[in-house]
Symmetry: none
Subunit: 403 residues, 2 copies
């Protein structure tokens, strides 16, 4: 509802107030099981979340906009209070964050696909027969030796036919077109630069591509590369600058750690088990105003299309709650970044359950935490990007707008 | 969810249709009493409002944006259909309206604080020991004699250490920085003008400040002034121009009368008791399309943190309803400008109950008027700025958009 992406929030944000914990179960939202009519969350035994629902207020959030299915990057940006369309993180950057590469501002990151070309340079397989990851590691180590004038170059394997190239130096730019023609039977596309910085970047990447082709020439399958998602790591105002909070992230997976770092959160040591997370939270509770805690398995089991395993993951997620409540945060918000219904075996656009606990909530009738109860929850349905202002408000960290 | 602040509404607004009454209980929204789980509104006996709820439709509005606590100025601008961020009323202007000063377009209004400075011009007390209001009146009368070249100058007391200065003349501008350094032990800040009009305004205000210091030199406490919230009264399109309605305001408090006047409402004589309000409404009912009626005590009792007195004020507010229904308006909308939960003893960001009565409403299940019932009300949760289009629509005052 706020027009200029948190501009009012930034104006009224104070540097003092209560402490906030944002507890995220990735892909939390689901769809009903055909036999029971209950979603994964509604099927799971979640006594701790249900207890919070009874003393808190519930609702739903729309990650990006109605009908729009988000990737994990934009979905988390929204949870952190950043309009994910305005603050779009390039695909190359997300790929680099996903392998824990320590990107610096101004770096240009590129998704690299190993591919097969014929003697005329025509692509015959865009994924080089999905070479095994070990092969990807070997080839990427080979390409990591490529040197280019005036910049540092890093090549890192991701998985199967996917790798990442990062250029580090002055005067680089993202936003170049992909060289992948998105079909076989066509040659790779040349870069079309629009600015001097893109011109320089295109020249460097073209030189890289040429040298890579030479180094891969004798490979049976992966004898070429294509480049996609060429993106610079643009400066992003931090949550400290925007919202006046000192924030820390507790997450096991690189991409979530990376995105949290992008918005200026301190990324604490990896923790994935409930006790480890609770311990980290307790240890650092005095040092920060805001904690982002990420739990992954509700998403990966949903992506696998496995209803029962998503139920089990949701039950495991529930066991994180006592450890979080042990520090008695002034504000606790529990939600997902998006829905991952096991019925779809993929991310989806469905609104995501939200549970908010704070002294200043207007309690609702919810006695358990589930999609159905959240529809009539007291928070109503809000945009994900509005959750940060709500958390800050309940923590007493926002001043009045106007007199 | 209309993004461009009523632009579509303005395009389809007709100059004819039914009559509308907007009945506002300031700070209406509340939070549950810990013993009962019921808010002030839910606790109060409100037979008249409950009867309207049974034949009307309920919902909630978000005054500015989720999490944002509004001042009364922006909250009322939103109720009148004005995006309060786009149409931001400066603090000096609101202060002048709050003492019923008859501001003209182009006037620059300034909040003036009496302060104490030492021999080196260093501020030792930003509020001059909170001098009594009688002293403020005496000093402000003295400063009201200050003359400046080419403009009229008015100095008016507000309360304790606070006063208002208004400059009237051509080529003035607001938006100058405060001279109040917001701390003791520092001198007052000079103005930093960015435009020729600001340059001229800064020169005049600096001359005023110098002359005020001379006139206050021998005061034991209030021997200096600081200036804050320097704001011009900018032209605002009226509700007549935007929405095709002839509107009148019935309110007791100066600030609400002032803001209503800013958007082009005729401000009727002061009335605060139910009979007086009903009488004014009846008397002027033929002359206007739209009436804004303001009730204050639900806010002031909430600000006092007094749950029981807010309940009593809510019950008094309920007695206004029969007098309003006596004229049988085509549309009656009852709401608050924001929430003022007595649990917080301040304005808050919580959504505000809305009750709408009109022949064309889609009735909902609500049998009483309260926050809990409004969550599942038929109107859903809308932005405050969307209420004006809804009232106009139910009054048959909006044509179809497109063919």
């Amino acid at each position: 509802m706020e027009h200029r992406d948190g501009a009012v929030t930034e104006r009224v944000a104070q540097r003092s107030g209560g402490k906030i914990v944002l507890l995220v179960a990735d892909g939390l939202g689901g769809l009903p099981h055909p036999d029971t009519g209950l979603t994964e969350l509604e099927t799971a035994a979640t006594p701790n979340l249900d207890a919070v629902a009874r003393e808190g207020v519930t609702g739903l959030h729309v990650p990006i906009a109605p009908g729009i299915t988000p990737g994990s990057g934009p979905a988390h940006m929204a949870l952190f209070g950043y309009d994910p369309v305005r603050y779009e993180i390039g695909r190359g950057v997300l790929e680099a964050l996903g392998i824990d590469f320590d990107l610096k501002q101004g770096d240009v990151a590129v998704r690299l696909n190993y591919a097969t070309i014929d003697g005329n340079g025509i692509i015959t397989d865009r994924r080089a027969g999905r070479i095994p990851t070990e092969k990807c590691v070997e080839l990427s180590a080979r390409l990591d030796g490529i040197e280019l004038p005036g910049v540092q170059v890093f090549t890192r394997p991701v998985k199967e036919h996917r790798a990442v190239v990062v250029l580090r130096g002055d005067g680089l730019a993202g936003g170049l077109n992909d060289t992948d023609p998105q079909k076989t039977g066509a040659p790779r596309l040349p870069f079309e630069a629009q600015t001097p910085a893109q011109e320089r970047t295109a020249g460097l990447l073209t030189a890289f591509l040429k040298r890579a082709d030479e180094l891969l020439r004798d490979e049976p399958k992966a004898n070429a590369i294509t480049m996609r998602g060429i993106a610079a790591l643009e400066p992003i105002p931090t949550v400290g600058e925007r919202f006046g909070i000192k924030a820390a992230a507790i997450a096991g997976y690189p991409m979530y750690r990376g995105v949290a770092g992008l918005v200026g959160m301190d990324v604490l040591p990896k923790a994935e088990a409930p006790d480890a997370v609770a311990g980290l939270l307790r240890e650092h509770y005095g040092d920060y105003d805001f904690f982002f805690i990420h739990y992954k398995k509700t998403d990966s089991t949903g992506e696998d299309g496995d209803f029962d395993r998503k139920v089990a993951a949701t039950e495991e997620f529930d066991t994180f709650v006592p450890g979080v409540l042990a520090v008695d945060p002034d504000v606790l918000l529990v939600t997902g970044d998006h829905s991952t219904p096991s019925a779809l075996a993929s991310h989806s656009w469905h609104p995501v359950p939200v549970l908010l606990r704070a002294a200043s909530v207007r309690r609702d009738a919810a006695v358990s935490f589930g999609e159905g109860a959240c529809v009539t929850g007291g928070l109503g349905t809000v945009r994900a990007v509005d959750l940060m202002p709500l958390m800050l408000a309940h923590a007493g960290r926002l001043a009045k707008f106007g007199a």
